[in-house]
């Protein structure tokens, strides 16, 4: 069976543009959570977020001129979310060193995770209309979750399997897992996967009206935690089969596991049983033992409900070992990036494996006895691990666990 390898990575985040800047910040505990300039947040209880600042003005048509479909990239027609995804994809493709002009395009697949995506563009459109200003209908085009998938696939010229997962917070975790599966099943030789997300007024207002947003930077697993900090960004991966000649091998995709809570449209089932099932499904798929996992990148949104449920799930899955395995939430630095969360956290997990350094949980002041875990507080930690677990536990109970292995 062909094993899927991560051959290239690109990242756009509030703590750095580019994989190296991202990883450097994660290691040093740098946070991107602060004031939002993208839209007016007055009136909200939780006003902070991890906004991508200093995104470079980019001529995407020139940037992608080495690929067949670059002419599809029309300035002014690319949403904020898509621009993050495109820049991350550019970095990943270059990073992989693969020659995209000479491959069989019917064997190239694109599978991305989507979230609010182009919603920010639609909001601009509606606000313009409301204020009596003319608004370009093209702002409505990126509304569908598949917008970036189609755009990227067209640019690359891929003619193979193409789809978009739309399961809120776990979308791009599922996408990465599925990408690995496509390689194993021989459906594709190269898969472009990951996800991108943009802040939007709707999600900001939505989480706030559920009283799920903290008024200080989010504090995963902390006793005093009051909710999330929203974020945005993108992480894109180039996945290939290990039999291919690859200049770089960051990690292998071991496997993934899915489950449904069947409990509530927003709140997780407190006992964590179904989350534990997703974790065991991923472990079994990856053909590793539960004891092989050396680090866990938690979903760790910092809501009371998620972190307790997740801690319970880890105890169910890992038994007595649960309190000893290092587990951190990188959302404490990059916020909750919704459709891009799974991919951005997978990138952090891959780098933890690749560099032997585990990123910290920031803003951790008071331990919560219900979450009695080693959360790697405050400072990253050197550790050579062979297998990493990354969890994404979505609204509506869509749980995805991803296992990544040393290359």
């Amino acid at each position: 069976m062909r094993s899927p390898v991560i051959a290239g990575i690109g990242v756009v985040s509030s703590i750095g543009i580019g994989l190296n800047a991202y990883w450097d910040s994660l290691q040093r505990g740098v946070s991107g959570i602060g004031n939002i300039s993208l839209f007016d947040t007055s009136g909200f209880a939780g006003r902070l977020g991890a906004e991508v600042r200093d995104f470079p003005e980019t001529d995407f048509k020139s940037l992608f001129s080495f690929l067949p479909g670059a002419h599809d990239l029309r300035p002014g027609r690319i949403s904020r979310c898509e621009s993050f995804g495109l820049l991350a994809a550019f970095e990943a493709i270059r990073d992989s060193g693969l020659d995209f002009s000479s491959i069989d395009h019917e064997r190239v697949a694109v599978v991305l995770g989507g979230g609010a995506g182009g919603l920010f563009s639609v909001e601009r459109f509606k606000r313009s209309i409301r204020e009596g200003r003319k608004a370009r209908p093209s702002l409505l085009m990126p509304f569908c979750a598949s917008a970036l998938t189609d755009l990227l696939a067209s640019v690359i010229g891929s003619r193979g399997y193409r789809t978009t997962i739309s399961t809120a917070c776990s979308s791009s975790n599922t996408a990465v897992g599925m990408a690995g599966e496509l390689i194993e099943d021989g459906i594709a030789d190269i898969v472009i996967t990951g996800g991108a997300e943009s802040l939007s007024e709707t999600t900001f207002a939505g989480f706030n009206c559920l009283r799920a947003v903290d008024d200080v930077p989010c504090r995963p697993f902390d006793l005093e935690r009051k909710g999330i900090s929203l974020g945005e960004g993108a992480a894109i991966f180039v996945i290939a089969a290990d039999s291919a000649s690859l200049p770089k091998r960051y990690a292998r995709i071991g496997g993934y596991g899915l489950s449904a809570d069947a409990h509530h449209v927003t709140a997780p089932a407190p006992d964590g049983q179904c989350i534990a099932m997703a974790i065991m499904n991923a472990i079994n798929y990856a053909s590793v033992s539960i004891d092989d996992i050396g680090y866990i990148n938690a979903h760790g949104t910092a809501t009371k409900a998620n972190d307790s449920a997740e801690a319970n799930a880890l105890k169910r899955a890992f038994g007595k070992r649960a309190g000893a395995i290092p587990v951190s939430s990188t959302k404490s630095m990059i916020g909750h990036c919704l459709g891009a969360a799974g991919a951005m956290e997978a990138a952090a997990s891959v780098m933890a494996l690749y560099r032997g350094i585990l990123p910290p949980t920031m803003n951790y002041a008071t331990p919560d006895p219900e979450c009695d875990l080693d959360v790697i507080p405050d400072k990253s930690r050197k550790a050579d691990v062979g297998a990493v677990l990354s969890n994404s536990l979505a609204f509506g109970g869509n749980n995805t666990a991803l296992v990544l292995l040393k290359a």
């Binding site: 979750a145 755009l151 978009t164 709707t202 899915l258």
Partner: protein, 399 residues
């Protein structure tokens, strides 16, 4: 082999699959002037006029759900009932899965929620609405209703959303990750959605849906949901389940296409059809359930793809979107219809309300025709703006 053991359908042809079959046999289209959706943007719509969720779920529960969730859940209730499966008793909760395909989810709920924010600021946002703005809410509602805890995913890939869901669900069964999977494809109609389509110039001005005709000028939006219960064929037979049909293959491919544009040559759909036939081991289907949605682009691309794939052979094409209008995730509805048609041995011709407006030859067959073959196979096509294409091969299960 993947068996379809349960079918549930909510559409403009009525509540329930029996109403759909009846309408098709009578050649009666469900497209009519707008009733529930107040709009001046289009003359006709494929609204699910008779849809009454109270017939399937408790009213208190229904009140909190978007139309998208309601259509999805009600079709799932009919399908599970049809399959005779109880997720708690017959199968363990972890042995069942829920996979949904939708391109638009509840655009109306998102629109209403944001309107509240624009009009009255943070304090004017309704927390009951927000959960129904996310794309995976229908899958969540279905899982909660039946207590299904196995794998769950929602696919959102334009007009191949439902096929992506069906393909993934089939793989779950083949790989032993689930014993039964509910697959739902659903979209709702709303005024904000029509306003968006209108602003983008996509709607038919003439007000009819006559795929492949010379007079076509754009689609008529419809709405609905179809749920299939999928199981392994041998397992289904062992428990004495009724098998409507089997799914031999689902092919998903793609090519470059501009935003909101269909790939013009039909090459991508041709590859999907050839791949589905190869995987099913068939040379020629007995019918094609076309993707034709009365747009200039899609219908032309598909006609070319069919012409090249079946050079010289005249395969009858059923144009279901003439009956229901068009909605992106209606692939599940058309696969379900194909299953019902091969099972009950009839092939729907164009609805009786249309005069021949430059009728493509492959549409020219008698109403309520039966299949020639003893074991008919149908290809169900989808081609999406943005570039993805799908073909599902459906065949009668053994009697």
């Amino acid at each position: 082999m993947i068996a379809i053991t349960g079918i549930g359908i909510m559409s403009s042809l009525g509540m329930g699959k029996d109403k759909l079959v009846q309408a098709l046999r009578e050649g009666r289209s469900g497209i009519a002037s707008p009733s529930r959706v107040k709009t001046d943007k289009i003359k006709n719509l494929g609204e699910a006029r008779d849809f009454d969720p109270k017939k399937y779920i408790p009213p208190l529960k229904a009140r909190k759900m978007s139309r998208f969730s309601l259509l999805s859940l009600c079709s799932a209730v009919e399908a599970m009932d049809d399959a005779g499966l109880n997720a708690g008793k017959d199968l363990g909760p972890f042995e069942c899965a829920v996979i949904v395909g939708t391109s638009l989810a509840s655009a109306e709920t998102t629109d209403t929620f944001f309107n509240g924010l624009m009009e009255g600021g943070a304090l004017n946002t309704n927390p009951i609405l927000f959960p129904e703005t996310v794309q995976n809410v229908a899958a969540s509602q279905i899982a909660i209703h039946f207590g299904i805890k196995g794998p769950s995913a929602t696919f959102s890939q334009g007009e191949t959303s439902a096929e992506a869901a069906i393909k993934y669900a089939s793989a779950l069964i083949n790989k032993g990750r689930a014993k039964a999977v509910l697959v739902t494809g659903a979209e709702e109609l709303s005024a904000p959605l029509l306003n968006g389509y209108y602003a983008l110039g996509l709607l038919s001005k003439k007000g009819f849906s006559y795929p492949y005709s010379n007079e076509r000028d754009g689609f008529i939006p419809g709405e609905g949901a179809a749920t299939l219960v999928l199981e392994d064929l041998d397992s289904a037979r062992k428990r004495g389940a009724k098998v409507h049909a089997v799914i031999n293959a689902v092919s998903l491919v793609s090519s470059a296409a501009g935003r909101l544009s269909y790939e013009t040559s039909g090459d991508c759909l041709e590859r999907a059809m050839r791949s589905a036939m190869r995987a099913s081991g068939i040379e020629s289907p007995d019918a094609i359930f076309g993707a034709g949605n009365s747009t200039v682009g899609l219908d032309a691309a598909e006609a070319m793809a069919i012409g090249r794939t079946f050079q010289g052979r005249m395969i009858p094409v059923a144009a279901l979107r003439a009956y229901t209008g068009y909605f992106p995730a209606d692939g599940a509805l058309r696969v379900a219809t194909a299953a019902l048609c091969v099972s009950e041995d009839f092939l729907p011709a164009m609805p009786g309300c249309f005069k021949a407006l430059g009728c493509a030859e492959f549409l020219d067959f008698a109403p309520d025709a039966a299949f020639d073959s003893d074991n008919p196979t149908v290809l169900v096509n989808s081609l999406s703006n943005g570039g993805s294409a799908a073909c599902a091969a459906v065949q009668r299960g053994e009697r």
